[in-house]
Structures are given as structure tokens and as C-alpha cells.
């Protein structure tokens, strides 16, 4: 963590009393959370607690019903996903995350607004995941589960985002792949000072990459803290049934 990064103030992502949901159902209820510049915060919780909906609300895919969302001091509530991505938010979704029938190259291309930036962006993500380089023409749907997850993350990194939203990237992966992904995230943060909000159920992975954690329960922040000696015990309490 670079010393120059501001931990207080208005930098990074600031959620204040954020509520959202679908139809008559409220999913996220008054969540206040901050991810400082260059900070990695793990959002943990069991299935159905509203973690994914919170990420989608930040990205403008689900409408904000109450509260405010600011990025680097600027309110972004009500902006379209296109505007938010242009402002530097990268998103690695969990559900149907790839265009299965498109090539790896086209999947990566779609992260950029213009092909002019493609060679440079590709070079950057090849640095994290060299295997993509020789397989650009391969259909994304034919990759193994771990390779697909790495492609999802690579695509989110194409734009060199200042804020990265990651939804259960470690799900179902063998430990060696989880380690590669963790290494890519910390390397990207070191190189670009990227702030990250990572939704996780894999405690080991979360403890490894995050600076702080928060537990979401039924749409509300139930507990939060730094990554310290007590973190594992406390988080386990929130993840157990």
C-alpha cells in the first residue's frame, strides 16, 4: 500500500446509505461502505445476502433507491453503466460472465470503447495471464473453468480501471489458480493503485488480498474490520450457516 494514498477524505468509492432491489423486493438496505484509493476491501457473506446486487447498484445496472454513491468525491448516482465504465470502473461479473461463442480476443475487445487502445491493453493483461496470448482466436466457451475466470479478470483489467468490482472470482477454482488470481490483483494494485471491492466466499483468498473486510447480512453491513488476528474468527462466524 503506497504511503501517499489517502485513507481519509473523499477519495475512492464512498457508499452512504445505499438501498436498491428488484420490483417490490428490497435487497440492499442502507449500506455505507468506503473503499479508499488503492485499497482492497473484501465483501463477505452467505448466498442471497445482497452482495452481487450491491455491485450491480454501484455499476448502475440496478437502480439506486436511496443513499448516495460517490467516486473520488463525485456523485455517480443515476449514471448509466456506460458512463461509469468510462469513468474507470471495471467489473468482473459472476453470472454469465463471458460471451461463450466469441473469441478470447473479441471478449477482450469489448472491454474497450475503441480498437486503437487494444494492442497496449492486451500487452498489459498478457503480463498477468500469458496463456491468453497464444489463444486469442479460441472461443471463450472452450476454456477451462479456471481459464475462464482469468479471462474475466483480464477483461476487467483491460481499461486499467481505478476501481475494480469483482464478484466471486475464486469460486470453484483449484488453489493454484486462486493464487495466480491473487497475484494478478496485488500486482495490478501495486502498478496502478487500483481500488478493489471484491465479493467473496473464499475466506483464504479474501484474507490474502484484502486490507479490510465487511460482512453483508440480509442487505445490511453486519460487521466489518481490518485484516488482523481476529479477522478469520469473526468472518467465519458470518459465513457459517
Amino acid at each position: 500500500m503506497p504511503e501517499t494514498t489517502q485513507r481519509d477524505g473523499t477519495g475512492g468509492l464512498v457508499l452512504d446509505g445505499v438501498s436498491s432491489g428488484y420490483g417490490a423486493v428490497a435487497i440492499v438496505k442502507g449500506v455505507s461502505l468506503r473503499v479508499g484509493p488503492g485499497e482492497i476491501v473484501a465483501l463477505l457473506g452467505k448466498n442471497g445476502m445482497g452482495k452481487t446486487t450491491l455491485l450491480k447498484t454501484i455499476l448502475g445496472l440496478v437502480a439506486l433507491r436511496a443513499g448516495s454513491i460517490a467516486i473520488d468525491g463525485r456523485s455517480v448516482a443515476g449514471l448509466s453503466p456506460a458512463r461509469l465504465v468510462a469513468l474507470g470502473i471495471g467489473y468482473a461479473p459472476q453470472e454469465q460472465p463471458l460471451f461463450q461463442d466469441l473469441s478470447i480476443r473479441d471478449n477482450l475487445r469489448l472491454a474497450l470503447a475503441s480498437d486503437r487502445l487494444l494492442p497496449e491493453a492486451l500487452d498489459r493483461v498478457f503480463g498477468h495471464f500469458p496463456f491468453l496470448k497464444d489463444r486469442l482466436a479460441q472461443r471463450a466457451g472452450t476454456l477451462s473453468g479456471g481459464e475462464q475466470k482469468m479471462l474475466i479478470l483480464a477483461r476487467a483489467l483491460m481499461l486499467r480501471p481505478r476501481l475494480l468490482l469483482i464478484d466471486e472470482i475464486s469460486e470453484g477454482l483449484q488453489p493454484s489458480v486462486v493464487d495466480r488470481i491473487a497475484a494478478a490483483l496485488t500486482a495490478e494494485r501495486a502498478a496502478s493503485g487500483t481500488a478493489m471491492l471484491i465479493v467473496e466466499q473464499n475466506l483464504g483468498f479474501a484474507l490474502k488480498v484484502a486490507d479490510r473486510w465487511a460482512a453483508l447480512k440480509l442487505g445490511e453491513i453486519d460487521d466489518e474490520g481490518g485484516i488482523d488476528g481476529t479477522a478469520r474468527e469473526r468472518i467465519l462466524g458470518h459465513l457459517s450457516v
Binding site: V85, P93, D106, A113
Partner: protein, 277 residues
Amino acid sequence: MLLLLDILTTAAILFVVAIGLLAVFGVLKIINFAHGAWLTIGAYCAVVTGKLGLNPWAALPIAFVVGAALGGLAEYVIIRPLYRRPLDAILATWGLGIVVGQLITLAFGRDVQLTPNLLSGTVEILGTGYSAYRLVALVAALVIGAVFALVIERTRLGLSARAVIMNETLARSLGLDTARVRLVVFMIGAGLAALAGVLLTPLTSVDPTMGVGWLIGAFMLVMVADTSFLALAAACLVFGAAQVLVSTFVSPVLGSIAVAVLAALVLRISPKGFSRA
């Protein structure tokens, strides 16, 4: 041989008429029932071009531009506000088709219009004369199909359109301006419908309701083809063949409903139509 040419040219005409509808169906996920009205608009562009004394072929680019511009307006004013209510949007396109038909009647009357001949005469093929214009229609279909394929496979717009067809939510979350993609594709679909309307003028009478029959056929073809334009080409060949063979050997009346009956049968047997082939 002549039968084969008839089949190929019939398929070509079906393809030209249906491809704009297919593009709109894929990206906007609605059937544009105003497609027939845009065919009519295109045909009347040919009428106006003739009255102005311009070269008849000039009607093709004019119709494409007029069709695309009016299509853009329709998408922006009528279809976009109904984006979250697809059934209402489909109903709105049906109403729009009626309104366009009435406006054309107001402006030009109910009568059949005459258009200048794009190309007359016959070409000698294996000792018999064959309509030169039908061969032109075949070439036009091949050109339109090739350009369409190039745009879809090789351009940024084509990639964006494919992304929206495959998974619109994901496309949106990657920052694609999906509203813009929908607008542009609708404009292209409307422009292609108008272009097809011009190409139809030598083959059919031009009146305010001319688009309706073609719309039904195109609708059936798109249902069978789903969103794959190769499947559309295959469906046009099969159904065009059926139409020509039934018309030639059974009865022209049955031939004209062959497409509808066959499409219903195909969808009954295989709900995914030709797109899995």
C-alpha cells in the same frame, strides 16, 4: 434449369426482404411489424424518384437513407420508451405500420402506382429467355448478404451488435452503449427494408398495403432462422424452393402460402428452427 433459377431468385428476394427484420429481431428482441410499412416506404421512394425524373437506380440509395432516417425517428420516439415492455413495443410497431400505410394513402391515394423499370428484357440462358431483373435481384441479395456478413464479422458495430444479441446485460456492464447499438441496428434494418421495397417494385404492384404480405413471409422466415443470418439464407432457399415447386406443379395459390405452412411445420418439429443446423 429454369426451375432452379426460379428457386434461387425467389430465395434471393425473400432474403432481401427478411434480413432487416432479422437484424432488428436479434438486437432489439422484438419483431418489427412496421417492417412491411418500410418496404412500402421504399417502393414509394421509387415512385417519387420516377416522378422527379431521376435515374431509377437512384431510388436504391435514396430509399435506404429515407428508410434509415425514418427508422431512427421511430426507434427514438416510439420503441425506445417501450424498451422494458417488449410486447407493447411489438404492438406499437403494428400500429406504426398502420399509420404509415394511411399516411401513404393520404399522400398518394389508394391506387396502384407505376414505377420506372429498373431493368427490362430477358437474358438468354440455355436457349430460353430469363428475366434479367430477377438475375439482378439475385446479385443484389448476394451483395447485401456479403456486406451484412462483413459488417457483422469485421466491424466494431458488428461486434457490439453480436454482443447485445448474445448477452445484453453483460454488454451493458462492459460499458457498451446498448441504446445506441439498438438505434443504429434499427436504422439499418429499416433502411434495408426500404431498399428491399425498391427492389420489389418490378415484381409486385406498388400500393399502400403492398408490404403486408411480404411482412408475413419475412416474419415466418425470421422465426425459423432465429437470429442467425446463415440460417436465414438456408430458410430462404428451402422455403423459396417450396414456394416455387408448389406454385409450378400444384397451384400458385397454394404456393403463396407454402412459406407460412412450412414455417409452422418446422417450428412444430424443431422449436429452434434452422439456427441449430
